[in-house]
């Protein structure tokens, strides 16, 4: 929408696409202008994944065995770390309240924010995961499956995490409370995500796990934006 059409009517009509695009571009711009936070999450992911071989010993067979699971847990924790930033800043300075007053439907800009969050946190982890997998000595097929599982799974983590962080807006005991809310809900994603790569490593087909992850993603995409909006409304009440 250009400036002329926006100012033509008394109130510019909101639509899902414009709301999504607007908040997606805004949050992504913010992430690019403050690259530190995004890089911090990536650095955390790489660092924690590198700690495991030092802790459990550098036996190549053991590392190849635990690799997919460790990478998934690290991705989970990294995604969890970046969650509070999703709504907290906008909630604190009143932006969130202004956004609910915008003509765009609430799920549109909320989805845009979550998509931007995923692009800034989940996507880099997915892209980096083959590199970490190489550190663990995973074979190429497993690396591919792991990346595919992360590609399907990390958006679910972003959506579930967004719902939890919206619920916990303004709550006492922030980080620990968020962990208690979000991590149990992440468990199914972890099981199927790590299961896909482990099935591949064991010579089985990862397709069932990946299909379940995709089904979970579709379900999360359909249902969770509405839950997130309900949570934001509760927070702003």
């Amino acid at each position: 929408m250009n400036a002329a059409t926006a100012t033509a009517g008394p109130v510019s009509a909101g639509s899902f696409a414009t709301g999504f695009a607007w908040s997606f571009a805004r949050d992504l711009t913010l992430a690019i202008r403050h690259p530190g936070e995004t890089l911090l999450v990536v650095a955390f992911f790489v660092l924690v994944a590198s700690l495991f071989p030092l802790g459990v010993g550098a036996d190549p067979q053991l590392l190849a065995r635990i690799g997919p699971g460790v990478i998934w847990v690290c991705a989970l924790l990294a995604a969890f770390l970046s969650l509070p930033a999703l709504f907290a800043g906008d909630y604190a300075d009143g932006t969130l309240e202004q956004m609910t007053l915008s003509p765009h439907p609430m799920p549109s800009w909320a989805s845009g924010k979550i998509a931007a969050h995923w692009v800034a946190s989940g996507l880099p982890l997915t892209v980096l995961s083959p590199l970490i997998g190489l550190q663990y000595g995973l074979d190429p097929a497993t690396l591919g499956t792991l990346a595919a599982a992360l590609l399907l799974g990390t958006p679910i983590l972003s959506l579930l995490g967004a719902a939890c962080t919206a619920l916990a807006l303004g709550a006492r005991g922030g980080g620990v409370l968020l962990a208690l809310l979000a991590l149990p809900l992440f468990v199914p994603v972890l099981i199927f995500g790590a299961g896909a790569a482990e099935a591949q490593a064991a010579g089985l087909s990862p397709a069932p796990h990946l299909s379940l992850l995709a089904a979970g993603l579709i379900l999360a995409l359909m249902a969770l934006p509405f839950a997130i909006c309900a949570a934001i409304r509760i927070a702003l009440d």
Binding site: A163, L167, G173, L177, L180, L181, L185, A227, A230
Partner: protein
């Protein structure tokens, strides 16, 4: 009589006070009968020996843990849709009892698992999802109490409970979906693979746990009502 009469905390407070003792009495009566049936009448299991008798606590507690969560989520949904205060209070009141039964189910299961499976704990689908249920309960309780404004806690926790309902079918069907260590159900509507006395003992214990849960929820709800309404006329008039 008006159906909504008891949706006011003041009237429900009295009703709950009258009803709770009856539920506790029923829980005690069916509990004693169930334990007698389970530990005296029911025969020793041919394969497992005496240790199988843990199921008379374990299975009803596991049923109750799931059902209490479902009821809690329903109360949460009612409180969100109709913006009622009492439903949210009931949801809060059920949560600790549900968490307790979840813990009991896990604990008794691990005691049963040691002699029969040879291990206290396995990362089996049903056990893991029951553990997740315990964390969901704890998350609900933590979130409900994390806000200065109790109504904000009510709403946030209600929404969390509704999101967490996804876990219930996973627990329930886990023994069919994943063929892992935890055995399938022995009880179904089409008939059972159990001795009649065992079945009766289990059903009596299940009824006892139900009655206990309702009674405990009512008593806890009364406390919550008093705490919330402490500035109301009718509460002040009581003291």
């Amino acid at each position: 009589m008006n159906f909504y009469y008891f949706s006011s905390p003041a009237t429900f407070y009295r009703l709950a006070g009258t009803m709770a003792p009856f539920f506790f009495a029923a829980a005690l009566a069916t509990g004693i009968a169930g334990l007698y049936m389970g530990f005296v009448v029911a025969p020793t299991d041919a394969q497992q020996g005496e240790v199988y008798r843990v199921i008379f606590i374990h299975v009803p507690a596991a049923w109750m843990s799931m059902f209490a969560y479902f009821v809690m989520a329903c109360y949460g949904a009612i409180s969100l849709t109709f913006n009622t205060r009492l439903a949210a209070m009931m949801a809060r009141a059920i949560a600790p009892t549900g968490a307790m039964f979840t813990f009991v189910a896990l604990w008794t299961g691990s005691f049963w698992g040691r002699p029969t499976w040879g291990t206290y704990w396995v990362w089996d689908a049903r056990i893991t999802s029951e553990l997740v249920l315990l964390f969901l309960y704890l998350g609900f309780i933590a979130l409900a109490n994390a806000f200065e404004d109790p109504r904000r806690g009510d709403r946030a926790a209600a929404l969390l409970a509704i999101i967490g309902v996804v876990n219930l079918p996973i627990i329930y069907f886990s023994v069919q979906w994943w063929n892992t260590l935890h055995q399938g159900s022995s009880v179904s509507f089409k008939g059972t693979s159990m001795h009649v006395a065992m079945l009766w003992a289990m059903l009596l214990m299940a009824i006892s746990f139900w009655m206990y849960t309702i009674g405990a929820a009512l008593v806890r709800c009364r406390t919550i009502i008093l705490e919330r309404e402490r500035r109301a006329q009718w509460v002040r008039a009581m003291t």
